[in-house]
Symmetry: C2
Subunit: 386 residues, 2 copies
């Protein structure tokens, strides 16, 4: 039997241990105003230095902006972390998935977070990294009818003054969710970026979409949806996609870099930027909206855009003739005005563009049979044969 | 005065709290063998899927390799995290700096790690993410005479069978450290990647260096060193560099992606890959070694290379005439064999290539006066005028 003194000492020891651990996990204090002061204790010194370097005129304005990130997986979580470290004003996170050990081959989440919802786990880490960012989380699937309305309501009313968010970043892994975002952004006139990584993990892309001004996701549709084939019938049971922290980190980097260029008005925002890891090839292109787009709100935005004076980032049309004369959706490609950039054919753009959904529940993997490098023409021929 | 029962209850309560916290922070258990099984609990399923997708023949071979990362800052820390999540066999980390809040605008380190040495903080996080990776840390400046010998000894004897490391990744932020790595790799015939991010944070590059086969860091020298001007006299007191998590994450992604291609033998390893964020421009080129390189070990490696049959990744010389006929170091550029790649002039490559050292101790920042976009010709003219 221990003495009271021994018990009291034991309590003191345990309390000290707990105190030490809680000190270790405490986030830094909030900072009222971004300062340029170059001291080791200033988390913003290297960002504010962008002003001194002549890159950004008004870096601190980043605190006025609200960005929604839809999908907090391999790309979305790193996207959210980069925006948090850059000191974005408000960050709105949507996901309905849980963290699993199978996600550990990508950046951000850690093994001890397994089982937590991705949005809750992400918010905890991000608040610890930068408590100045106001983080809101929504743990639901945006594609159900009921949730879609909640989703659009959040997008329309969540900026720092109660208005629409300044930008939506799509980091989802399936067509259905991309279409939900596209539908919402066309209807409520929201500017957004689409992003994706191929199922073989070695290519990816980002695409900047201003409703009415650049092609929407339905203007240059993924082939499956364009022919009204149900995505689910095309998925191969048991196929599990590969992924790499490199490709996903690079795509997130492209996404946030172009987000910073758009919000803080420096450099040129790229309309479409692809990444092919095997050869380090980076196709860029500009996609014009399709006047006969299936989405009536896209057609409406196109009419509105035709009537207003063009802003600086407007698409410069040089050559309006579609490269594929025979393509049935009238997709046309426009040359980049800079001659340093690659011009690519639509088949190269499309083959990199989309990825199969995350098969988290799948227990067994079969051999993948689809060829990720099939061209647009081949896919069109295949679809017509169905 | 509390009763013994009360004290015992208190101890029980504190012990439960501690137990809960330690469970939360516990890393996952070690995994003996990489499996392709697609279950949520397998952290390697999405990497092993690269085999099924036809990208990599033998992914599990990654466990046989040892990579040294020199410099655990904005690029090096993300590089180390990507390699850890990919399941590299052994990782050797070098740095002599401490984590500061001023580093929080880049990925990886968190505020509660402020004050810890970068290598210790990184090792703790990385072991938690993937306990299967064998992590060794060295907390010293590699450029002092005594430490340089210790550094080369580690590089020569630290792989999994006691031989030289399989690859060295330079993620340092100054010329002196790059030259130390270059000297070591030429002397001991070690393959390495150089990397860098510009002081205005909007461009970066990686360069693959096989001694004797591709240009070393002294073959295509940074201009300051080539003219024997002391780097320190050129640094402007009080200038603090800008940095962004995007640019550094992208450069780390390029570095690790090309590391994976090199180690696991898939795709094409790019000799030089640049990134210009403002326009999303990605110059690539191949740099041949300089027969009159100042480094005698480089010249020795060149002679050895000339005598051996060329491996698959050998440089294909198409055009050996230097683009700048008047350049005094005889630097020559070789076209990429693929016509999808950009050809760039040396001035574009060099202007992106190097960055000023981290000025962590600097208290005040003056206006930056040097022009980061100055061309090679202009710099040569400036140097001749000195």
């Amino acid at each position: 039997m221990s003495t009271v003194k021994e018990l009291q000492d034991k309590i003191k020891e345990l309390e000290e241990k707990l105190e030490k651990i809680s000190q270790k996990n405490v986030a830094r204090k909030k900072i009222d105003e971004m300062s340029s002061e170059v001291v080791d204790s200033n988390p913003y010194s290297r960002l504010m230095a962008l002003k001194r370097m002549g890159i950004v005129n008004n870096y601190e304005k980043i605190r006025d902006y609200t960005v929604a990130v839809v999908g907090i997986g391999g790309v979305g979580s790193v996207t959210a972390e980069m925006l948090t470290r850059c000191g974005i004003g408000r960050l709105i996170l949507f996901d309905y998935d849980k963290v699993e050990l199978a996600n550990m081959n990508r950046l951000f989440f850690q093994p001890h977070q397994s089982g937590l919802s991705k949005v809750d786990a992400a918010a905890e880490t991000l608040r610890n990294i930068n408590p100045d960012v106001d983080i809101h989380t929504y743990n639901y699937n945006i594609t159900t009818v009921e949730n879609f309305d909640k989703f659009t309501e959040v997008l329309r009313s969540s900026n720092l003054t109660g208005g629409p968010v300044d930008l939506v970043l799509s980091c989802v892994d399936n067509f259905e969710a991309r279409f939900a975002i596209n539908t919402a952004c066309n209807e409520f006139n929201l500017t957004w970026f689409e992003s994706g990584v191929s199922e073989n993990a070695v290519s990816g892309h980002i695409q900047f979409i201003i409703p009415g001004e650049t092609a929407c996701f339905a203007c240059a549709p993924p082939l499956i949806v364009a022919s009204n084939i149900d995505e689910k019938t095309l998925k191969r049971d048991g196929v599990c996609a590969a992924s790499l922290p490199t490709t996903m980190g690079i795509v997130a980097g492209f996404l946030v870099q172009n987000t910073l260029k758009y919000l803080l008005q420096f450099g040129q925002v790229t309309n479409y930027l692809g990444y092919s890891a095997l050869t380090d090839f980076f196709p860029t292109m500009t996609l014009k909206p399709n006047p006969s787009c299936d989405d009536s709100n896209c057609r409406l935005r196109q009419k509105e855009f035709a009537l207003k004076p063009k802003p600086e980032i407007a698409v410069e049309a040089k050559e309006e003739k579609p490269i594929h004369d025979d393509n049935e959706w009238g997709i046309s490609l426009v040359d980049e005005s800079e001659d340093t950039k690659e011009q690519v054919t639509i088949s190269e753009g499309v083959q990199l563009a989309y990825t199969l959904p995350n098969q988290t529940a799948v227990e067994e993997c079969e051999e993948a049979t689809a060829d990720a490098d099939v061209s647009l023409d081949e896919l069109m021929a295949q679809m017509k044969a169905i």
